[in-house]
């Protein structure tokens, strides 16, 4: 690995990489890489965003995969393997037994998402880049997810407090950012400067585009971004 002392590490979930390539904004990763930011992915994410789509018969899936493959070849994205099987299984079991409906545990996340958290913990990486909503909410505000599940499923959802506490201890100190924040900070650092007087308009357009590509950002949050980035 590179000289770790000067580098900043961000662990990327497949959701953000998918929305960044879908919006053709993955060059933002290159932009930050030039200032020593390393974007890390676990092998499961590489499989999901590159290996699997490249094997699919539908050629449209290969568009994002090829662009992401190039980012790995150029070492902007770094695949890091770590022994996370056991902790990932523990996280999976925990997250899938926090909420209960009609006496049954709600299986909220899959192995890939559990692996992400296990890898962040193992590598002591504090920042996760994640556009996916549920895992982010589990990390940040699990009771909001409980309320949402109750509203959607029209049943009472019970919480196993001890499992929730154990999970909260695991993710304690982790912070989640989305593609939208990446785009906004890139704007602050001059990424859109070549658009001259239109650069703010371009930021707004890029934020909307990331939303429509699946980044879990709300309309009012985009308005807030635009107020902040005066």
């Amino acid at each position: 690995m590179h000289n770790m002392a000067n580098e900043k590490y961000i662990l990327c979930d497949s959701s953000s990489l998918i929305s960044l390539t879908d919006t053709c904004l993955e060059t933002i990763l290159r932009f930050f890489h030039r200032s020593n930011v390393l974007f890390i992915i676990p092998p499961s994410v590489e499989y999901e965003i590159i290996t699997r789509p490249l094997k699919m018969t539908m050629k449209a899936y290969q568009f994002s995969a090829m662009r992401l493959k190039k980012l790995i070849e150029d070492e902007v994205l770094m695949k890091v393997e770590a022994e996370t099987d056991a902790p990932a299984k523990e996280i999976l079991e925990l997250t899938n037994s926090i909420f209960f409906a009609k006496g049954k545990p709600l299986h909220m996340v899959d192995m890939g998402e559990a692996e992400m958290i296990a890898l962040a913990k193992s590598l002591k990486i504090k920042t996760l880049l994640m556009d996916e909503r549920t895992t982010r909410m589990l990390v940040e505000a699990p009771f909001e997810i409980k309320d949402h599940l109750e509203e959607e499923l029209r049943v009472n959802v019970m919480v196993n407090s001890s499992h929730l506490q154990k999970f909260s201890d695991i993710v304690s100190g982790m912070r989640v950012i989305r593609s939208s924040e990446l785009v906004a900070v890139a704007y602050e650092k001059g990424y859109f400067d070549n658009f001259g007087a239109d650069k703010k308009k371009m930021l707004e357009a890029a934020l909307y585009k990331t939303k429509f590509s699946g980044c879990s950002v709300r309309f009012d949050e985009i308005e807030e971004f635009m107020r902040i980035e005066q």
């Binding site: 900043k8 497949s14 959701s15 998918i18 879908d22 930050f32 200032s35 020593n36 930011v37 999901e48 699997r52 699919m56 899936y61 994002s64 409906a101 009609k102 049954k104 709600l106 299986h107 909220m108 996340v109 899959d110 998402e113 920042t127 996916e132 909503r133 549920t134 895992t135 909410m137 589990l138 940040e140 505000a141 909001e144 997810i145 949402h148 599940l149 959607e152 499923l153 029209r154 049943v155 912070r175 989640v176 950012i177 989305r178 924040e181 990446l182 900070v185 602050e188 939303k211 429509f212 590509s213 699946g214 980044c215 879990s216 950002v217 709300r218 309309f219 949050e221 807030e224 902040i228």
Partner: protein, 175 residues
């Protein structure tokens, strides 16, 4: 609800051309699938969605489609009487395919669209993207793209403000 009861209701709603009933049945099945997930329930959710879609299109009631509509109805009747109704699902899918092939309007067929829509609903209900993809077999990229064009993200407020999240990002990116 048992599988047999669901097929009874689906056949009844299709016979009466009651798309509203079919949609309500689909809602019920989706909730059941979310709580006690099984592949079978998921398939039934997709079928009820597809049948609801067919019933909502007036063009399918014209004489041009009579034979195809009857074939779907007959398959549903066979399924509700069958010991294992799910064995009739491939036949049903084939019949729906024949109906669509009379006048194809989309690249994606109704069953594929139904599977994607059900996957996006799982995600919207509160299950993770990975879980929705795992349950349905639909790639994450498809679910994300669909979800991004819905209002699902507007429904859940977060405790972390944009200002604070931007602060996290600036710190992480060394800005």
């Amino acid at each position: 609800m048992s599988i047999k009861e669901i097929f009874d209701e689906m056949a009844g709603a299709f016979r009466r051309k009651n798309s509203r009933h079919m949609r309500k049945l689909n809602d019920k099945i989706m909730i059941e699938t979310a709580i006690q997930f099984s592949k079978e329930m998921y398939e039934l959710a997709v079928i009820s969605y597809v049948l609801g879609k067919i019933l909502s299109k007036p063009r399918f009631y014209s004489s041009q489609y009579k034979q195809n509509m009857n074939a779907i109805q007959n398959t549903l009747e066979l399924a509700r009487k069958a010991k294992d109704p799910l064995k009739l699902v491939p036949t049903l899918e084939r019949e729906v395919g024949r109906l669509e092939s009379e006048d194809p309007r989309f690249v994606v067929d109704l069953f594929t669209k139904g599977r994607l829509k059900m996957a996006a609903i799982f995600y919207a209900q509160g299950f993770s993207l990975g879980r929705a993809s795992e349950i349905t077999g639909i790639p994450k990229s498809e679910i994300l793209s669909y979800a991004g064009k819905t209002m699902m993200f507007e429904k859940v407020k977060t405790e972390i403000s944009v200002e604070k999240r931007l602060h996290f990002a600036r710190e992480a990116l060394g800005a």
